[in-house]
Subunit: 350 residues, 2 copies
């Protein structure tokens, strides 16, 4: 019977001829409700277009039906933030949870989480950009707040999903090795980042196993221009036939640097990246890279977090394998074009 106002549980109860408590039981499935009663209640809900108010549910229930996610400040690994968020949000929705977005104001990584908890703002958190000894992990763990990390955490009981960077790099190295490359160099980041070290380990381990020279390593920041300028030094000694890079940004820089040196990447020298940023397919030669399955990571994190919120004990850490996307930078433009049988002209014009 609501006029302009949203229908309340009381309206539904009246409409169905039952008490508020029964409606609540139907909605939340808490107690046994007889089939006939349940049917009438559901019809009333349908007729009135009822949805429980989140605020009103939260108060007595002591939970917010909200998952918090802090937007990372640095734009580095955000390549697929949209895909990640999309899956976080839609997986959460399946468990009747919504996602609360927030940011950090200053350098204190923990402060925004503390603030949200103080105001009873979320039931749990999804963290990304985890590095060694992340302060947020300790903070949340101490307070017993449920959370799930995109990234590696030492404590096995913490929910964490990470992309297997080592395996990814090894897939790239194997790919190159099977193509006949024996002199494979690695361009990495400075030691000290969880992601960078992991990827380097992958190279190092497989290089030794395959009998390659594991010392052929150069390190640089994750910067296009720095990587570009490093190429002469990379080629100076005993020229590699392939370069495996820790990231697409670095790989794209190397690609540019090789061209500066008059070499044809893909043809004369192979290059691989990591992350499969959009630019990897938007350049020529297109870049062979490793796609992080952000969809799976996002969904997995939330599934496990939901399980833990529900009281089930969810498994802790898990690694997901990135997919090797082979493009022109390792197989050459000619071979890449084989898949592509279209006439050369008047194409693409509408």
């Amino acid at each position: 019977m609501p006029s302009g106002r949203r229908p309340t549980i009381q309206d539904v109860a009246n409409h169905a001829g039952v008490s508020m408590a029964t409606v609540s039981n139907v909605v939340n499935g808490h107690a046994h409700v007889r089939d006939g009663t349940k049917k009438r209640v559901l019809e009333a809900i349908d007729a009135l277009g009822y949805q429980a108010s989140r605020a009103a549910r939260s108060l007595p229930a002591g939970r917010t039906f909200l998952l918090g996610y802090c937007l990372p400040d640095d734009t580095s690994p955000n390549a697929a933030l949209d895909v990640f968020l999309h899956h976080v949000v839609s997986t959460a929705a399946r468990a009747d949870l919504e996602v609360l977005l927030f940011t950090q104001k200053d350098l204190d990584k923990v402060q925004p989480y503390a603030e949200i908890l103080q105001r009873g703002g979320a039931d749990g958190f999804v963290l990304s950009g985890i590095d060694y000894n992340d302060t947020r992990v300790d903070f949340l763990e101490q307070r017993g707040i449920p959370f799930a990390c995109f990234g590696r955490v030492a404590d096995e009981s913490v929910i964490s999903v990470d992309v297997d960077g080592a395996a990814g790099i090894q897939a790239a190295v194997s790919h190159l090795h099977s193509l006949g490359h024996e002199r494979i160099a690695f361009v990495g980041w400075p030691e000290g980042s969880a992601t960078g070290d992991d990827r380097f380990d992958g190279f190092s381990t497989l290089a030794i196993a395959l009998g390659l020279d594991p010392q052929r390593v150069v390190r640089t920041l994750n910067d296009f221009d720095l990587a570009r300028k490093l190429v002469p030094a990379l080629l100076s000694d005993h020229r590699p036939s392939a370069v495996v890079c820790v990231s697409d940004t670095v790989a794209l820089g190397v690609l540019a640097g090789l061209r500066d040196e008059g070499l044809t990447p893909g043809g004369q020298i192979a290059v691989t990246g990591f992350d499969d940023v959009p630019a990897a397919s938007l350049c020529a030669p297109s870049l062979t890279s490793l796609r992080q399955p952000m969809d799976r990571v996002g969904a997995l994190l939330v599934e496990r977090l939901v399980a833990r919120l529900t009281g089930e004990d969810a498994p802790g850490s898990e690694l997901v394998e990135p997919d090797l996307i082979v493009r022109e930078s390792t197989i050459g433009a000619s071979e890449a074009a084989l898949a592509d049988e279209s006439p050369p002209t008047q194409e693409g014009i509408l």
Copy 2:
């Protein structure tokens, strides 16, 4: 006096020796509170680390302190989603609002908004990806829900902020014209998208004004490969000396296509894009493009939305100008390098 539980307004009231109502008044600045009283209350709040529970505030206040944002489904204009969201969230935070993220489940664009409203889930919405006759706009307007649009809306009273695509393209054309280019072609999208039509209008208008040939237009989907394959046709007739593209994706395709034809983009033929996606600076030659000021757009949208929520009447629509970022694709690698005075070797290695 709370042991493990979060302090409530009652705890603060006790601690300060006042009533709950007074604490509420201090927190919300609703009534006049004497300075001495206010001071004691603030001290108590500080001592206890009190923050009002969002759920509990919402219930009697009838608002949620939440702004809703629906993640766009298509990944096309999401280039700077992270920057946009960052500013939306932090601007909202300044007004004591948080951001609720959601997605659409099916093709119905309106449904998720309806659902959130039914459950009293948000006080207002930020919309992006607005196109002609967006159903969401009508829906929200009819219900009197406050919202702000990233994109153009016919109704002037609706809050909308958009990037001036026409002005952006004109900046690119002017740039090229001042460089001496007289034969400038435009590669656009098919007619019918608000963004694409706007950008094309910019070209068309200025081309006429400058006495260029405004007919030198080719249209294609926003796809790298299609754009790449369209280059031979683009060059066939009366070869242009510069190509203005409706987007970076198209421009990068054109760049690749030109190289396929044995031409040197930047040197022999200039190219511009639009959006300044990361790839624009991660390729060689780097791409001259137009950066959309997503920071300003996000902040402006939320500022105005907040004003409207507060009862002030905020101005409706506004256009912000994109920034022309000049790179090698229009001025050539040599000139671009002038800014860059570093020795060519051993650079970038750590």
